[in-house]
Amino acid sequence: MVAADPVHEIVSAVYVAESRRVLATLIRLLGDFDAAEEALHEAFRAALEQWPRDGVPGNPRAWLVSTGRFKGIDALRRRARFDALEEAGEKADIAVEDGEAWADEASVEDDRLRLIFTCCHPALAPDAQVALTLREVCGLTTEEIAQAYLTRPATLAQRIVRAKAKIRDARIPYEVPSAAELPGRLDAVLQVIYLVFNEGYAASSGPAVTRHDLASEAIRLGRLLAELMPEPEVFALLALMLLHDSRRAARSGPDGELIVLEEQDRSLWDHGQIDEGIGLVRRALAARRPGPYAIQAAIAAVHAEAASTGDTDWGEIVALYDALHRFVPSPVVELNRAVAVAMRDGPAAGLPLVDAILDRGDLQEYRLAHAARADLCRRLGRADEARASYERALALTRQEPERRFIARRLAELAGREERR
């Protein structure tokens, strides 16, 4: 191993702490994502050269922004001379005039919000919003994102290139939306964060139940947004993610097998995270009209506060699903409500509700609907129906731990038959 060089270590630490902030500001100053990324690299390269010689500047971030801006304008001017592209020259001039605004704390924090809102602009495709946010806001590499999403790096790189091209060609502005647009645009940002979280938490395919990194990345994004934009629904989403994630250690066994809520060892839940989540739920519910994330977080909080499934206030959960259904009239919400009714009033009360949803055909391809039906039939001792529904769920799942869980249930059913 190479002996640790203290200045190199400082540069690395500054990179981790500041590179996303510096990038966000450089995009504003240079008016272009690619130019800003290049300038960011140039600035850190210069830091590696100059800091060992001249000492570490008092405000490393300001130094990096001003160095990056200088290098970026230089590059734009050189390019402008080569291609005689008027536009690049124009941009460089704008950048020079804008030079005074870069240093102060408030505009730097605004830049981080501008970056988030631009990456999550609804004019970009949802998968492009996710990829761009992970790349630009979280600083994940294309390879890391591709790995997390089980996609080829080339496919992912292509998606990001196309998104940046649209930002440039359609001129998606680098700004925080106006008050009139904000509610809708904030929803889009929350949706991207929740998509990232869910992909990490309930990996829809692949070998593991959770993909730790994406869930943690989403929580970090949630924290950042809560700091920059302290709105009730932002607190609520952060709470929802913290409360779900608090069960991570209890959700899978030593061999990665899925453990359902009912069978989880609740002493393994992260109680620090639960306390933080519940505190945030309270703040979110204090809003005049709690939004859909606040209601979902409240449901997660009811679970988190119970010592066991038997101890859970299922009446409260049914009422919260009713409230959620008014916001999000989706069959999945209805299904969750039906399961809560079964917990409150017994499986015989839940089964007709689940059957009614399945009979409408809405959730015929949804593995969890069949798994829920199978579970209720199992509890009612209707083994044949349970088996048929588990088999249907098994055919629909692409996730290995779920497959093993269902296979175990099927084996238990077969065992029970034999004993008879």
């Binding site: 602009h121 060609d169 359609a170 001129r171 998606i172």
Partner: protein
């Protein structure tokens, strides 16, 4: 920057929005200085397709594509950025019946 807002409507909805509403929309945009040009189009039955292949001109009736929606008109507007263009598009009356496709114009490059 210029954007063209292409108005797509299902055939049965071509007259769902009264003409006077569309005229008012155009007048408002013109007054605000954002309108470059706007026209409503005759239905696709009045269209003729022209192709030149190997120096020969081919003329056909149509195009009668499989899609349910057809181009019913366009607005060429001047907007600061996509957000402003989206704002304008959302106020074009047929947006509530069909789809407005917002496209940035491309500068031709003489080289």
């Amino acid at each position: 920057m210029k954007y063209v807002c292409l108005v797509y409507l299902e055939t049965g909805k071509l007259h769902a929005v009264p003409d006077r509403e569309c005229m008012a929309c155009g007048d408002g945009l013109r007054a605000s200085g954002r309108l470059v040009a706007a026209e409503a189009l005759q239905p696709i039955e009045a269209a003729t397709s022209v192709r030149v292949r190997n120096g020969k001109t081919w003329i056909t009736d149509g195009p009668f594509a499989e899609t349910k929606e057809q181009l019913a008109g366009f607005y060429l507007i001047d907007a600061a950025d996509l957000n402003e263009a989206i704002q304008v598009a959302s106020k074009i009356p047929p947006a509530r019946e069909g789809t407005i496709e917002v496209r940035p114009v491309r500068q031709l490059n003489p080289d």
